[in-house]
Amino acid sequence: MTMMGAHAGDATEAVPVPRTPSRASGASTVAGDGSATADRVRRLARSDDADRGGRSLRPTGGPAVVTRVAVTTAAIVALPVIWAALAATGWLGPGFVGPAETVRTLHEQWSMIWFNASPTLSATLTGVLILLAITAVGMVVVAVIPALAAALGGLSVVLGSLPLIAVTPALALVVTRGAQLVTIVTVLSGLVPVAAMLVAAAGAATRGREDLGALYATPRLRWWRHVGFWHTVPVLDLGLRAMLPACFVGAIVAEWSGATGTRGLGQVMVNALFSYQPALLWAALLLAAGAALGLFGLAALIMMPLRRRIR
Protein backbone atom coordinates (compact mmCIF):
# COMPACT_ATOMS: atom_id res chain seq x y z
CA MET A 1 0.00 0.00 0.00
CA THR A 2 2.12 2.88 -1.19
CA MET A 3 -0.57 5.39 -0.27
CA MET A 4 -0.41 4.32 3.34
CA GLY A 5 3.33 3.90 3.45
CA ALA A 6 4.08 7.43 2.32
CA HIS A 7 2.30 8.98 5.28
CA ALA A 8 2.17 6.30 7.87
CA GLY A 9 5.24 7.47 9.73
CA ASP A 10 3.88 10.75 10.96
CA ALA A 11 0.61 9.10 11.94
CA THR A 12 2.12 7.09 14.75
CA GLU A 13 4.42 9.88 15.88
CA ALA A 14 1.70 12.43 16.26
CA VAL A 15 -0.78 10.40 18.23
CA PRO A 16 1.00 7.93 20.50
CA VAL A 17 -1.41 5.34 21.80
CA PRO A 18 -0.66 3.20 24.85
CA ARG A 19 -0.42 -0.43 23.83
CA THR A 20 -2.89 -2.03 26.13
CA PRO A 21 -4.06 -5.51 25.15
CA SER A 22 -7.21 -5.32 23.07
CA ARG A 23 -10.38 -7.27 23.66
CA ALA A 24 -11.43 -7.03 20.03
CA SER A 25 -11.18 -10.39 18.39
CA GLY A 26 -9.90 -8.84 15.19
CA ALA A 27 -7.25 -6.71 16.85
CA SER A 28 -5.11 -9.61 17.97
CA THR A 29 -4.60 -10.80 14.43
CA VAL A 30 -2.91 -7.57 13.36
CA ALA A 31 -0.86 -7.10 16.53
CA GLY A 32 2.85 -7.54 16.44
CA ASP A 33 4.06 -6.27 13.09
CA GLY A 34 4.64 -2.82 14.55
CA SER A 35 3.85 -0.97 11.29
CA ALA A 36 1.94 2.29 11.37
CA THR A 37 -0.90 0.76 9.37
CA ALA A 38 -1.29 -2.13 11.76
CA ASP A 39 -1.12 0.33 14.61
CA ARG A 40 -3.89 2.40 13.13
CA VAL A 41 -6.03 -0.63 12.51
CA ARG A 42 -5.37 -1.88 16.01
CA ARG A 43 -6.43 1.47 17.39
CA LEU A 44 -9.57 1.50 15.30
CA ALA A 45 -10.44 -2.03 16.35
CA ARG A 46 -9.99 -1.03 19.95
CA SER A 47 -12.29 1.94 19.51
CA ASP A 48 -14.85 -0.36 17.89
CA ASP A 49 -14.75 -2.42 20.99
CA ALA A 50 -15.35 0.69 23.05
CA ASP A 51 -18.22 1.65 20.71
CA ARG A 52 -19.79 -1.70 21.29
CA GLY A 53 -19.64 -1.20 25.05
CA GLY A 54 -18.68 -4.84 25.51
CA ARG A 55 -21.98 -6.08 24.09
CA SER A 56 -22.05 -9.62 22.81
CA LEU A 57 -22.29 -10.15 19.05
CA ARG A 58 -25.57 -12.05 19.28
CA PRO A 59 -28.38 -9.81 18.10
CA THR A 60 -30.82 -8.98 20.84
CA GLY A 61 -34.55 -8.37 20.46
CA GLY A 62 -37.11 -11.15 20.42
CA PRO A 63 -37.13 -14.09 22.82
CA ALA A 64 -34.66 -16.95 22.59
CA VAL A 65 -35.50 -19.91 20.36
CA VAL A 66 -36.22 -22.14 23.37
CA THR A 67 -38.75 -19.66 24.76
CA ARG A 68 -40.39 -19.26 21.36
CA VAL A 69 -40.73 -23.02 20.85
CA ALA A 70 -42.07 -23.43 24.41
CA VAL A 71 -44.70 -20.72 23.93
CA THR A 72 -45.77 -22.14 20.56
CA THR A 73 -46.02 -25.67 21.97
CA ALA A 74 -48.01 -24.43 24.96
CA ALA A 75 -50.43 -22.66 22.61
CA ILE A 76 -50.84 -25.78 20.47
CA VAL A 77 -51.39 -27.98 23.54
CA ALA A 78 -53.80 -25.50 25.13
CA LEU A 79 -56.22 -25.70 22.20
CA PRO A 80 -57.16 -29.43 22.53
CA VAL A 81 -57.34 -29.02 26.29
CA ILE A 82 -59.90 -26.23 25.94
CA TRP A 83 -61.66 -28.26 23.25
CA ALA A 84 -61.83 -31.32 25.52
CA ALA A 85 -63.01 -29.24 28.49
CA LEU A 86 -65.76 -27.61 26.41
CA ALA A 87 -66.93 -31.00 25.04
CA ALA A 88 -66.93 -32.49 28.55
CA THR A 89 -69.37 -29.82 29.80
CA GLY A 90 -71.89 -30.87 27.15
CA TRP A 91 -73.12 -27.25 26.90
CA LEU A 92 -72.86 -27.25 23.15
CA GLY A 93 -74.89 -30.43 22.65
CA PRO A 94 -73.99 -33.81 21.13
CA GLY A 95 -72.82 -32.19 17.87
CA PHE A 96 -69.76 -30.83 19.66
CA VAL A 97 -67.49 -33.88 19.59
CA GLY A 98 -64.44 -33.96 21.88
CA PRO A 99 -60.84 -34.53 20.74
CA ALA A 100 -60.64 -38.16 21.93
CA GLU A 101 -63.64 -39.30 19.87
CA THR A 102 -62.52 -37.18 16.92
CA VAL A 103 -59.07 -38.79 16.87
CA ARG A 104 -60.64 -42.25 17.25
CA THR A 105 -62.93 -41.62 14.26
CA LEU A 106 -60.04 -40.24 12.24
CA HIS A 107 -58.08 -43.38 12.99
CA GLU A 108 -60.97 -45.78 12.26
CA GLN A 109 -62.02 -44.12 9.03
CA TRP A 110 -58.52 -43.08 7.94
CA SER A 111 -58.49 -44.91 4.60
CA MET A 112 -61.81 -43.36 3.55
CA ILE A 113 -60.85 -39.89 4.80
CA TRP A 114 -57.40 -40.03 3.17
CA PHE A 115 -58.91 -41.32 -0.09
CA ASN A 116 -60.94 -38.08 -0.11
CA ALA A 117 -58.32 -35.76 1.32
CA SER A 118 -55.56 -36.64 -1.15
CA PRO A 119 -57.19 -34.99 -4.19
CA THR A 120 -57.88 -31.91 -2.06
CA LEU A 121 -54.25 -31.74 -1.05
CA SER A 122 -53.00 -32.35 -4.57
CA ALA A 123 -55.33 -29.62 -5.92
CA THR A 124 -53.98 -27.34 -3.21
CA LEU A 125 -50.36 -28.09 -4.07
CA THR A 126 -51.03 -27.61 -7.80
CA GLY A 127 -52.69 -24.30 -7.01
CA VAL A 128 -49.76 -23.30 -4.80
CA LEU A 129 -47.27 -24.10 -7.56
CA ILE A 130 -49.27 -22.00 -10.04
CA LEU A 131 -49.43 -19.15 -7.52
CA LEU A 132 -45.69 -19.39 -6.82
CA ALA A 133 -45.03 -19.04 -10.53
CA ILE A 134 -47.42 -16.05 -10.67
CA THR A 135 -45.63 -14.55 -7.65
CA ALA A 136 -42.17 -15.03 -9.14
CA VAL A 137 -43.12 -13.49 -12.49
CA GLY A 138 -45.25 -10.80 -10.81
CA MET A 139 -42.44 -9.72 -8.51
CA VAL A 140 -40.08 -9.11 -11.41
CA VAL A 141 -42.79 -7.37 -13.43
CA VAL A 142 -43.78 -4.94 -10.65
CA ALA A 143 -40.10 -4.30 -9.92
CA VAL A 144 -39.58 -3.21 -13.52
CA ILE A 145 -42.98 -1.52 -14.00
CA PRO A 146 -43.95 -0.22 -10.52
CA ALA A 147 -47.08 1.44 -11.91
CA LEU A 148 -48.57 -2.05 -12.25
CA ALA A 149 -48.59 -2.40 -8.46
CA ALA A 150 -51.56 -0.03 -8.23
CA ALA A 151 -53.50 -2.12 -10.76
CA LEU A 152 -52.66 -5.24 -8.76
CA GLY A 153 -53.89 -3.56 -5.61
CA GLY A 154 -57.26 -2.96 -7.30
CA LEU A 155 -57.34 -6.52 -8.58
CA SER A 156 -56.71 -7.91 -5.11
CA VAL A 157 -59.59 -5.85 -3.72
CA VAL A 158 -61.94 -7.12 -6.44
CA LEU A 159 -60.82 -10.75 -6.00
CA GLY A 160 -61.01 -10.46 -2.25
CA SER A 161 -64.61 -9.33 -2.44
CA LEU A 162 -65.69 -12.29 -4.60
CA PRO A 163 -67.47 -14.91 -2.49
CA LEU A 164 -65.88 -18.21 -3.49
CA ILE A 165 -69.05 -20.13 -2.65
CA ALA A 166 -70.88 -18.14 -5.31
CA VAL A 167 -68.02 -18.20 -7.80
CA THR A 168 -67.66 -21.98 -7.84
CA PRO A 169 -71.14 -22.81 -9.25
CA ALA A 170 -70.74 -20.06 -11.81
CA LEU A 171 -67.37 -21.45 -12.88
CA ALA A 172 -68.90 -24.95 -12.99
CA LEU A 173 -70.98 -23.70 -15.92
CA VAL A 174 -67.85 -23.20 -18.03
CA VAL A 175 -65.28 -25.63 -16.57
CA THR A 176 -65.94 -29.35 -16.13
CA ARG A 177 -66.43 -30.19 -12.48
CA GLY A 178 -63.53 -32.06 -10.89
CA ALA A 179 -59.87 -31.53 -10.01
CA GLN A 180 -59.45 -28.79 -12.62
CA LEU A 181 -62.26 -26.65 -11.20
CA VAL A 182 -61.03 -27.19 -7.63
CA THR A 183 -57.57 -26.03 -8.69
CA ILE A 184 -58.97 -22.92 -10.35
CA VAL A 185 -60.89 -21.93 -7.22
CA THR A 186 -57.79 -22.72 -5.16
CA VAL A 187 -55.73 -20.34 -7.28
CA LEU A 188 -58.44 -17.68 -7.02
CA SER A 189 -58.46 -17.90 -3.23
CA GLY A 190 -54.66 -17.63 -3.10
CA LEU A 191 -54.59 -14.67 -5.49
CA VAL A 192 -55.66 -12.20 -2.82
CA PRO A 193 -52.61 -12.71 -0.60
CA VAL A 194 -50.42 -12.91 -3.70
CA ALA A 195 -51.70 -9.61 -5.10
CA ALA A 196 -51.34 -7.96 -1.70
CA MET A 197 -47.84 -9.43 -1.47
CA LEU A 198 -46.90 -8.03 -4.88
CA VAL A 199 -48.16 -4.56 -3.98
CA ALA A 200 -46.11 -4.57 -0.77
CA ALA A 201 -43.14 -6.09 -2.61
CA ALA A 202 -43.18 -3.33 -5.23
CA GLY A 203 -42.90 -0.75 -2.45
CA ALA A 204 -40.19 -2.61 -0.57
CA ALA A 205 -38.16 -3.30 -3.70
CA THR A 206 -37.67 0.37 -4.50
CA ARG A 207 -36.58 1.36 -0.98
CA GLY A 208 -33.25 3.21 -1.19
CA ARG A 209 -33.29 3.26 -4.98
CA GLU A 210 -33.70 7.03 -5.07
CA ASP A 211 -30.32 7.29 -3.32
CA LEU A 212 -27.82 4.59 -4.25
CA GLY A 213 -29.72 3.35 -7.28
CA ALA A 214 -29.98 6.86 -8.69
CA LEU A 215 -26.35 7.65 -7.87
CA TYR A 216 -25.07 4.71 -9.89
CA ALA A 217 -27.77 5.01 -12.58
CA THR A 218 -28.80 1.43 -11.83
CA PRO A 219 -31.43 -0.10 -14.15
CA ARG A 220 -34.53 -1.30 -12.29
CA LEU A 221 -33.96 -4.99 -12.91
CA ARG A 222 -30.37 -4.82 -11.72
CA TRP A 223 -31.44 -2.94 -8.62
CA TRP A 224 -34.05 -5.59 -7.94
CA ARG A 225 -31.51 -8.39 -8.34
CA HIS A 226 -28.95 -6.91 -5.98
CA VAL A 227 -31.11 -5.01 -3.49
CA GLY A 228 -34.85 -4.90 -4.15
CA PHE A 229 -35.49 -8.63 -4.00
CA TRP A 230 -33.83 -8.88 -0.60
CA HIS A 231 -35.95 -6.04 0.74
CA THR A 232 -39.05 -7.99 -0.29
CA VAL A 233 -38.11 -11.16 1.61
CA PRO A 234 -40.08 -10.27 4.78
CA VAL A 235 -43.13 -9.47 2.62
CA LEU A 236 -42.67 -12.70 0.67
CA ASP A 237 -42.33 -14.63 3.89
CA LEU A 238 -45.58 -13.29 5.34
CA GLY A 239 -47.38 -13.56 1.99
CA LEU A 240 -46.47 -17.21 1.48
CA ARG A 241 -47.50 -18.11 5.00
CA ALA A 242 -50.87 -16.48 4.38
CA MET A 243 -51.19 -17.89 0.86
CA LEU A 244 -50.63 -21.62 1.50
CA PRO A 245 -53.36 -22.15 4.11
CA ALA A 246 -55.68 -19.82 2.14
CA CYS A 247 -55.28 -22.13 -0.87
CA PHE A 248 -56.18 -25.17 1.19
CA VAL A 249 -59.27 -23.50 2.61
CA GLY A 250 -60.13 -22.43 -0.95
CA ALA A 251 -59.91 -26.05 -2.15
CA ILE A 252 -62.23 -27.27 0.63
CA VAL A 253 -64.72 -24.47 0.02
CA ALA A 254 -64.66 -25.29 -3.71
CA GLU A 255 -65.47 -28.95 -3.01
CA TRP A 256 -68.07 -27.95 -0.44
CA SER A 257 -69.80 -25.76 -2.96
CA GLY A 258 -69.94 -28.37 -5.68
CA ALA A 259 -66.68 -28.13 -7.64
CA THR A 260 -66.30 -31.90 -7.54
CA GLY A 261 -68.99 -34.53 -7.60
CA THR A 262 -66.82 -37.45 -6.56
CA ARG A 263 -63.98 -37.16 -4.01
CA GLY A 264 -62.68 -34.45 -1.69
CA LEU A 265 -62.33 -33.44 1.91
CA GLY A 266 -65.03 -30.82 1.42
CA GLN A 267 -67.26 -33.54 0.00
CA VAL A 268 -66.70 -35.67 3.14
CA MET A 269 -67.67 -32.72 5.32
CA VAL A 270 -70.87 -32.07 3.39
CA ASN A 271 -71.83 -35.75 3.48
CA ALA A 272 -71.03 -36.04 7.18
CA LEU A 273 -73.13 -32.97 7.91
CA PHE A 274 -76.13 -34.05 5.92
CA SER A 275 -76.04 -37.67 7.14
CA TYR A 276 -75.52 -36.45 10.70
CA GLN A 277 -72.14 -38.02 11.50
CA PRO A 278 -70.67 -35.29 13.74
CA ALA A 279 -67.63 -37.38 14.72
CA LEU A 280 -66.70 -37.82 11.04
CA LEU A 281 -67.20 -34.10 10.42
CA TRP A 282 -64.89 -33.26 13.31
CA ALA A 283 -62.35 -35.83 12.10
CA ALA A 284 -62.31 -34.18 8.66
CA LEU A 285 -62.00 -30.79 10.34
CA LEU A 286 -59.08 -31.99 12.42
CA LEU A 287 -57.30 -33.29 9.35
CA ALA A 288 -57.96 -30.00 7.54
CA ALA A 289 -56.60 -28.00 10.48
CA GLY A 290 -53.51 -30.23 10.64
CA ALA A 291 -52.93 -29.91 6.90
CA ALA A 292 -53.31 -26.10 7.01
CA LEU A 293 -50.85 -25.96 9.89
CA GLY A 294 -48.49 -28.23 7.96
CA LEU A 295 -48.70 -25.96 4.90
CA PHE A 296 -48.01 -22.95 7.10
CA GLY A 297 -44.94 -24.75 8.46
CA LEU A 298 -43.88 -25.66 4.92
CA ALA A 299 -44.03 -22.01 3.87
CA ALA A 300 -42.00 -21.02 6.93
CA LEU A 301 -39.48 -23.75 6.18
CA ILE A 302 -39.10 -22.80 2.52
CA MET A 303 -38.45 -19.20 3.50
CA MET A 304 -36.12 -19.95 6.39
CA PRO A 305 -32.81 -19.68 4.51
CA LEU A 306 -33.83 -16.33 2.99
CA ARG A 307 -35.15 -15.06 6.31
CA ARG A 308 -31.88 -15.98 8.01
CA ARG A 309 -29.89 -14.25 5.31
CA ILE A 310 -31.60 -10.87 5.67
CA ARG A 311 -31.71 -10.90 9.47
Binding site: M1, M3, M4, A6, H7, D10, A11, A14, V15, V17, A24, S25, G26, A27, T29, V30, T37, R40, V41, R43, L44, A45, S47, D48, A50, D51, R52, L57, P59, G208, E210, D211, L212, G213, A214, L215, Y216, A217, T218, R222, W223, H226, V227, W230, R309, I310, R311
Partner: protein
Amino acid sequence: MNPAPASLSAMEAIPAAAGDPSPAPPSDGLRIRGVSYGYPQRRGAVPAVDDVSFEVPRGGMGVLVGPSGCGKSTLLRLVAGLLEPDAGDIEVGGVNPARLRAERRAGFAFQDPGLLSWRTVRRNIELPFDLAGLPRDRAWTDHLLEITGLADWADRRPRELSGGMRQRVALARALATRPDVLLLDEPFGALDEITRSDLNLELLRILTDTATTCLLVTHSVDEAVLLADVVVVLGRRPCAVHAVHEVPTPRAGRREVRDTADFADRCRAVRAALEAGR
Protein backbone atom coordinates in the same frame (compact mmCIF):
# COMPACT_ATOMS: atom_id res chain seq x y z
CA MET B 1 -0.67 18.86 -3.01
CA ASN B 2 -2.37 21.97 -1.82
CA PRO B 3 -5.37 22.85 -3.89
CA ALA B 4 -6.16 26.04 -1.99
CA PRO B 5 -4.64 29.24 -3.42
CA ALA B 6 -1.33 29.77 -1.64
CA SER B 7 -1.55 33.54 -1.89
CA LEU B 8 -4.31 33.81 0.71
CA SER B 9 -3.43 34.88 4.21
CA ALA B 10 -3.87 32.43 7.09
CA MET B 11 -7.60 32.65 6.65
CA GLU B 12 -9.74 34.97 4.69
CA ALA B 13 -13.40 35.44 5.19
CA ILE B 14 -14.95 36.15 1.83
CA PRO B 15 -18.46 37.54 1.86
CA ALA B 16 -20.87 35.28 0.00
CA ALA B 17 -21.11 36.14 -3.68
CA ALA B 18 -24.81 35.65 -4.25
CA GLY B 19 -25.70 34.42 -7.72
CA ASP B 20 -23.14 36.24 -9.83
CA PRO B 21 -24.75 36.22 -13.28
CA SER B 22 -21.57 36.85 -15.32
CA PRO B 23 -20.43 33.91 -17.44
CA ALA B 24 -17.36 32.06 -16.12
CA PRO B 25 -14.92 29.63 -17.73
CA PRO B 26 -15.73 25.95 -17.07
CA SER B 27 -14.52 24.69 -13.70
CA ASP B 28 -12.87 21.29 -13.31
CA GLY B 29 -13.58 21.37 -9.57
CA LEU B 30 -17.00 22.08 -8.10
CA ARG B 31 -18.85 25.28 -8.88
CA ILE B 32 -22.25 26.16 -7.53
CA ARG B 33 -23.81 29.34 -8.84
CA GLY B 34 -27.03 30.88 -7.59
CA VAL B 35 -28.58 27.53 -6.73
CA SER B 36 -32.01 27.43 -5.10
CA TYR B 37 -34.19 24.47 -4.30
CA GLY B 38 -37.54 23.87 -2.61
CA TYR B 39 -39.07 20.47 -1.88
CA PRO B 40 -42.33 20.32 -3.81
CA GLN B 41 -45.30 19.90 -1.48
CA ARG B 42 -49.01 19.93 -2.09
CA ARG B 43 -49.29 23.44 -0.67
CA GLY B 44 -46.30 25.17 -2.29
CA ALA B 45 -42.65 24.22 -1.94
CA VAL B 46 -40.58 23.91 1.24
CA PRO B 47 -37.58 26.11 0.45
CA ALA B 48 -34.36 24.40 1.52
CA VAL B 49 -31.59 26.11 -0.46
CA ASP B 50 -31.61 29.78 -1.36
CA ASP B 51 -29.28 31.30 -3.94
CA VAL B 52 -26.14 29.45 -2.89
CA SER B 53 -22.84 30.09 -4.66
CA PHE B 54 -19.34 28.85 -3.92
CA GLU B 55 -16.46 27.00 -5.52
CA VAL B 56 -14.14 24.20 -4.53
CA PRO B 57 -11.00 23.72 -6.65
CA ARG B 58 -10.30 20.36 -8.29
CA GLY B 59 -8.95 17.93 -5.72
CA GLY B 60 -10.02 20.33 -2.97
CA MET B 61 -12.15 19.82 0.08
CA GLY B 62 -15.22 21.94 0.65
CA VAL B 63 -16.86 21.63 4.04
CA LEU B 64 -20.43 22.72 4.73
CA VAL B 65 -21.34 23.79 8.23
CA GLY B 66 -24.66 25.17 9.33
CA PRO B 67 -27.53 24.68 11.74
CA SER B 68 -29.45 21.41 11.73
CA GLY B 69 -32.16 21.34 9.09
CA CYS B 70 -30.73 24.28 7.14
CA GLY B 71 -30.34 22.36 3.88
CA LYS B 72 -26.83 20.87 3.87
CA SER B 73 -27.91 17.36 2.86
CA THR B 74 -30.16 18.90 0.24
CA LEU B 75 -27.19 20.74 -1.21
CA LEU B 76 -25.19 17.49 -1.42
CA ARG B 77 -28.11 15.82 -3.20
CA LEU B 78 -28.24 18.67 -5.67
CA VAL B 79 -24.52 18.28 -6.40
CA ALA B 80 -24.95 14.51 -6.82
CA GLY B 81 -27.75 15.09 -9.31
CA LEU B 82 -30.28 13.33 -7.08
CA LEU B 83 -32.29 16.56 -7.02
CA GLU B 84 -32.55 19.19 -9.71
CA PRO B 85 -32.14 22.84 -8.72
CA ASP B 86 -35.07 25.20 -9.26
CA ALA B 87 -32.61 27.91 -10.19
CA GLY B 88 -28.89 28.32 -10.75
CA ASP B 89 -26.39 25.83 -12.03
CA ILE B 90 -23.90 23.32 -10.72
CA GLU B 91 -20.79 22.17 -12.46
CA VAL B 92 -18.69 19.28 -11.22
CA GLY B 93 -15.48 18.23 -12.94
CA GLY B 94 -16.54 20.18 -16.02
CA VAL B 95 -19.95 18.52 -16.35
CA ASN B 96 -23.41 19.01 -14.89
CA PRO B 97 -24.66 16.72 -12.10
CA ALA B 98 -26.95 14.72 -14.42
CA ARG B 99 -23.99 13.80 -16.61
CA LEU B 100 -21.84 13.14 -13.54
CA ARG B 101 -24.47 10.68 -12.34
CA ALA B 102 -24.91 9.03 -15.71
CA GLU B 103 -21.13 8.54 -15.87
CA ARG B 104 -21.09 7.23 -12.27
CA ARG B 105 -18.38 9.63 -11.27
CA ALA B 106 -19.74 10.58 -7.86
CA GLY B 107 -19.45 8.76 -4.54
CA PHE B 108 -21.90 9.57 -1.74
CA ALA B 109 -21.84 8.55 1.91
CA PHE B 110 -25.37 9.33 3.00
CA GLN B 111 -26.25 10.63 6.45
CA ASP B 112 -27.96 7.30 7.08
CA PRO B 113 -25.41 4.63 6.08
CA GLY B 114 -28.22 2.34 4.79
CA LEU B 115 -26.07 -0.79 4.71
CA LEU B 116 -27.61 -3.99 3.38
CA SER B 117 -28.11 -6.51 6.18
CA TRP B 118 -27.70 -9.57 3.95
CA ARG B 119 -24.32 -8.48 2.65
CA THR B 120 -21.04 -8.73 4.49
CA VAL B 121 -18.96 -5.63 5.09
CA ARG B 122 -16.86 -6.44 2.03
CA ARG B 123 -19.89 -7.00 -0.17
CA ASN B 124 -21.48 -3.79 1.10
CA ILE B 125 -18.37 -1.89 0.06
CA GLU B 126 -18.49 -3.61 -3.32
CA LEU B 127 -22.17 -2.80 -3.84
CA PRO B 128 -21.47 0.18 -6.15
CA PHE B 129 -19.69 -2.14 -8.58
CA ASP B 130 -22.78 -4.35 -8.72
CA LEU B 131 -25.11 -1.38 -9.05
CA ALA B 132 -23.02 0.25 -11.75
CA GLY B 133 -22.50 -3.07 -13.56
CA LEU B 134 -18.72 -2.83 -13.19
CA PRO B 135 -16.29 -5.63 -12.34
CA ARG B 136 -15.36 -5.71 -8.65
CA ASP B 137 -11.92 -4.39 -7.74
CA ARG B 138 -10.83 -6.71 -4.96
CA ALA B 139 -7.44 -5.14 -4.33
CA TRP B 140 -8.97 -1.69 -3.95
CA THR B 141 -11.67 -3.05 -1.66
CA ASP B 142 -8.94 -4.67 0.46
CA HIS B 143 -7.19 -1.34 0.66
CA LEU B 144 -10.39 0.47 1.63
CA LEU B 145 -11.06 -2.14 4.30
CA GLU B 146 -7.59 -1.58 5.65
CA ILE B 147 -7.60 2.20 5.77
CA THR B 148 -11.01 2.26 7.42
CA GLY B 149 -9.84 -0.25 10.03
CA LEU B 150 -12.38 -2.83 8.91
CA ALA B 151 -10.03 -5.47 7.50
CA ASP B 152 -10.81 -7.87 10.34
CA TRP B 153 -14.54 -7.29 9.96
CA ALA B 154 -14.72 -7.88 6.22
CA ASP B 155 -16.81 -11.02 6.53
CA ARG B 156 -19.14 -9.76 9.25
CA ARG B 157 -22.66 -8.49 8.70
CA PRO B 158 -23.71 -4.88 9.43
CA ARG B 159 -25.75 -5.95 12.46
CA GLU B 160 -22.49 -6.94 14.13
CA LEU B 161 -21.03 -3.46 13.74
CA SER B 162 -21.21 -0.36 15.88
CA GLY B 163 -22.65 2.87 14.51
CA GLY B 164 -19.19 4.29 13.87
CA MET B 165 -18.10 1.15 12.05
CA ARG B 166 -21.17 1.33 9.85
CA GLN B 167 -20.28 4.89 8.96
CA ARG B 168 -16.82 3.74 7.98
CA VAL B 169 -18.33 1.06 5.74
CA ALA B 170 -20.46 3.76 4.11
CA LEU B 171 -17.34 5.88 3.58
CA ALA B 172 -15.48 2.95 2.02
CA ARG B 173 -18.51 2.21 -0.16
CA ALA B 174 -18.55 5.81 -1.37
CA LEU B 175 -14.90 5.46 -2.38
CA ALA B 176 -15.35 2.07 -4.04
CA THR B 177 -15.60 3.19 -7.64
CA ARG B 178 -12.80 5.78 -7.23
CA PRO B 179 -15.15 8.69 -7.84
CA ASP B 180 -14.06 12.07 -9.19
CA VAL B 181 -16.30 13.76 -6.66
CA LEU B 182 -16.94 12.56 -3.17
CA LEU B 183 -19.97 13.74 -1.19
CA LEU B 184 -19.91 12.95 2.51
CA ASP B 185 -22.85 13.70 4.75
CA GLU B 186 -21.62 13.72 8.36
CA PRO B 187 -19.47 10.68 7.69
CA PHE B 188 -17.74 10.69 11.05
CA GLY B 189 -20.59 11.76 13.33
CA ALA B 190 -20.63 8.57 15.39
CA LEU B 191 -16.87 8.16 15.79
CA ASP B 192 -14.70 8.79 18.81
CA GLU B 193 -12.26 11.70 18.68
CA ILE B 194 -9.10 9.69 17.92
CA THR B 195 -10.60 7.43 15.25
CA ARG B 196 -12.28 10.46 13.76
CA SER B 197 -9.10 12.46 13.45
CA ASP B 198 -7.23 9.42 12.10
CA LEU B 199 -9.88 8.95 9.44
CA ASN B 200 -9.93 12.68 8.72
CA LEU B 201 -6.24 12.60 7.86
CA GLU B 202 -6.60 9.32 5.97
CA LEU B 203 -9.40 10.85 3.94
CA LEU B 204 -7.22 13.84 3.08
CA ARG B 205 -4.52 11.44 1.95
CA ILE B 206 -6.86 9.55 -0.34
CA LEU B 207 -8.26 12.75 -1.80
CA THR B 208 -4.77 14.12 -2.40
CA ASP B 209 -3.54 10.92 -4.03
CA THR B 210 -6.57 10.53 -6.24
CA ALA B 211 -7.18 14.26 -6.91
CA THR B 212 -10.77 13.74 -5.81
CA THR B 213 -12.88 16.80 -5.17
CA CYS B 214 -14.86 16.44 -1.97
CA LEU B 215 -17.82 18.18 -0.37
CA LEU B 216 -18.35 17.20 3.24
CA VAL B 217 -21.00 18.11 5.79
CA THR B 218 -20.06 18.25 9.44
CA HIS B 219 -21.31 19.74 12.68
CA SER B 220 -17.79 19.86 14.10
CA VAL B 221 -16.05 23.18 13.54
CA ASP B 222 -12.67 21.63 14.41
CA GLU B 223 -13.17 18.93 11.82
CA ALA B 224 -14.25 21.53 9.26
CA VAL B 225 -11.11 23.62 9.77
CA LEU B 226 -8.86 20.55 9.87
CA LEU B 227 -10.16 19.15 6.60
CA ALA B 228 -11.28 22.07 4.52
CA ASP B 229 -9.68 24.06 1.80
CA VAL B 230 -12.95 25.97 1.82
CA VAL B 231 -15.36 26.16 4.76
CA VAL B 232 -18.81 27.25 3.64
CA VAL B 233 -20.87 28.58 6.54
CA LEU B 234 -24.59 28.32 5.85
CA GLY B 235 -27.39 30.19 7.60
CA ARG B 236 -30.81 29.01 8.74
CA ARG B 237 -33.22 27.25 6.36
CA PRO B 238 -33.53 27.95 3.52
CA CYS B 239 -29.76 28.01 3.65
CA ALA B 240 -27.85 30.82 2.02
CA VAL B 241 -24.09 31.16 2.19
CA HIS B 242 -23.30 33.24 5.22
CA ALA B 243 -19.53 33.23 4.82
CA VAL B 244 -16.81 31.34 2.96
CA HIS B 245 -13.52 30.76 4.73
CA GLU B 246 -10.53 29.56 2.81
CA VAL B 247 -7.96 27.53 4.75
CA PRO B 248 -4.61 27.65 2.95
CA THR B 249 -2.70 25.25 5.24
CA PRO B 250 -0.91 22.66 3.09
CA ARG B 251 -2.40 19.19 3.49
CA ALA B 252 0.87 17.67 4.54
CA GLY B 253 0.93 19.90 7.62
CA ARG B 254 -2.64 19.37 8.76
CA ARG B 255 -1.83 16.99 11.59
CA GLU B 256 0.71 19.30 13.17
CA VAL B 257 -1.42 22.41 12.81
CA ARG B 258 -4.21 21.17 15.07
CA ASP B 259 -2.59 22.29 18.31
CA THR B 260 -1.52 25.71 17.11
CA ALA B 261 -3.01 29.04 18.06
CA ASP B 262 -3.60 29.67 14.37
CA PHE B 263 -5.90 26.65 14.16
CA ALA B 264 -7.78 27.79 17.25
CA ASP B 265 -8.21 31.24 15.72
CA ARG B 266 -9.67 29.76 12.56
CA CYS B 267 -12.08 27.63 14.52
CA ARG B 268 -13.14 30.67 16.51
CA ALA B 269 -13.78 32.61 13.32
CA VAL B 270 -15.92 29.86 11.81
CA ARG B 271 -17.80 29.48 15.06
CA ALA B 272 -18.46 33.23 15.13
CA ALA B 273 -19.76 33.09 11.55
CA LEU B 274 -22.03 30.19 12.49
CA GLU B 275 -23.37 32.12 15.48
CA ALA B 276 -23.99 35.16 13.34
CA GLY B 277 -25.74 33.11 10.67
CA ARG B 278 -28.28 31.53 13.03
